[in-house]
């Protein structure tokens, strides 16, 4: 008798837990459908390794962006993002000046670096890959970023976005091979629902 009772109980428990499990298994991203504005609390970090260890670690403090998550078709979601290289920040003022100068971003002539998504592909419960066109110094190339959903509630959403960009494509390869060609982006994007 006790066995039967236990079985019934566990069955009932299963019934309750099942939808929750399904929820966490199903693309959580779809639950976050909506249009968001990138918040100023986001962190746009990048690093460039240098020969012999160490490297440049920096971030951009001025940027803007919007994204729309399509609840039914994640791959119909879109992202656009702009950053202002004038706002680059590192441990060294001379390095910042160099990055803003005509040697790298040429921030006076090209005040923005932009990204427009062309394809979004969900790769896991909380992960996706975003393809898009990156424009810097007037040169446009296809780049890919990996996105991981970190959490969301009714108003806010948080992603970690990573990606490697070859700066030589944008004629920013000054300093190679002392500084590597790869710029590693590691960004914490906070979105505020519109």
């Amino acid at each position: 008798m006790r066995h039967v009772a236990l079985m019934v109980a566990s069955l009932a428990l299963g019934q309750i837990l099942l939808p929750l499990a399904a929820f966490s298994k199903a693309p959580a991203l779809s639950q976050a459908a909506g249009t968001y504005e990138v918040s100023g609390t986001s962190q746009i970090r990048f690093s460039v390794d240098q020969i012999g260890g160490g490297g440049i670690n920096g971030r951009f403090t001025k940027f803007s962006g919007r994204f729309r998550i399509d609840g039914r078709r994640i791959d119909a979601s879109t992202i656009s993002f702009t950053l202002y290289p004038q706002s680059v920040s590192t441990q060294e003022r001379r390095m910042e000046d160099f990055l803003r100068s005509s040697a790298v971003f040429d921030a006076d002539a090209y005040p923005t670096v932009t990204f427009r998504s062309t394809a979004v592909r969900q790769t896991g419960d909380d992960t996706a890959v975003v393809d898009g066109m990156l424009t810097a110094r007037g040169i446009t190339h296809r780049e890919q970023f990996s996105v991981r959903l970190q959490g969301f509630n009714r108003n806010d959403i948080a992603f970690n976005v990573t990606g490697n960009v070859y700066r030589s494509r944008y004629r920013m390869d000054v300093g190679t091979p002392i500084y590597l060609n790869v710029v590693k982006f590691d960004m914490d994007i906070r979105g505020v629902r519109q």
Partner: protein, 199 residues
């Protein structure tokens, strides 16, 4: 330093002298040019890297010359020179040789203390580690001052030194400059004995 020799300069000393002289003059010009305000920043970056590579090459050649001095002794002044000229030339040569070591060492100290922390990648082949010094704005400023001051002192002394060499050559018509241009005369080999191979 070993006692002085008076058999003139050998091929190694001559090659070292002119290589180092060319490098030093080029490096002063390069150093001056790369520090100009308004220079293209990308060009400036690569000039700095070339400057460090050629500067370290100059340092190693100057180190070789020091070893040569220690091993073989320094060459005695030209016998045509008066006593004051001999003293002056010896002092100048020692000071020039010393500055050829101090200037690049101070440059290396700049690269080792700067908070920019840019690696020294010798001719893009091998990473030269920084000297074991703490990085700080003050240390960089100090060594930068030492490097520039000793570099321009070296340039001034080299100008004086070459003026003296040219003076002895063109005005006094003494063999001082020629000593540094061609290898010391080798004693003619004694004719082979007991061999009746007269022509």
């Amino acid at each position: 330093m070993r006692k002085q020799r008076d058999d003139g300069y050998g091929i190694v000393a001559i090659c070292l002298h002119w290589l180092i002289a060319a490098l030093v003059l080029g490096l002063v010009a390069l150093g001056f040019a790369m520090r100009r305000a308004g220079i293209d920043p990308a060009l400036q970056f690569s000039l700095y890297q070339w400057h460090k590579s050629f500067g370290l090459l100059a340092l190693s050649l100057a180190g070789l010359r020091l070893l040569l001095w220690l091993a073989a002794g320094r060459v005695a002044p030209d016998p045509d020179l008066g006593i004051i000229e001999r003293r002056a030339s010896t002092a100048t040569h020692l000071l020039l040789g010393l500055l050829c070591l101090l200037v690049p060492l101070a440059g290396w100290a700049v690269a080792s203390t700067t908070t920019l922390n840019i690696p020294t990648f010798l001719f893009n082949i091998v990473v030269i580690p920084p000297l074991p010094m703490a990085r700080s704005v003050d240390a960089e400023g100090f060594w930068s001052w030492v490097h520039a001051t000793t570099a321009y002192t070296l340039l001034g002394l080299a100008a004086l030194h070459s003026a003296a060499a040219l003076f002895h050559h063109l005005v006094r018509r003494e063999g001082v400059l020629m000593r540094m241009l061609r290898r010391r005369a080798v004693e003619p080999a004694p004719p082979p004995a007991n061999e009746g191979r007269e022509r």
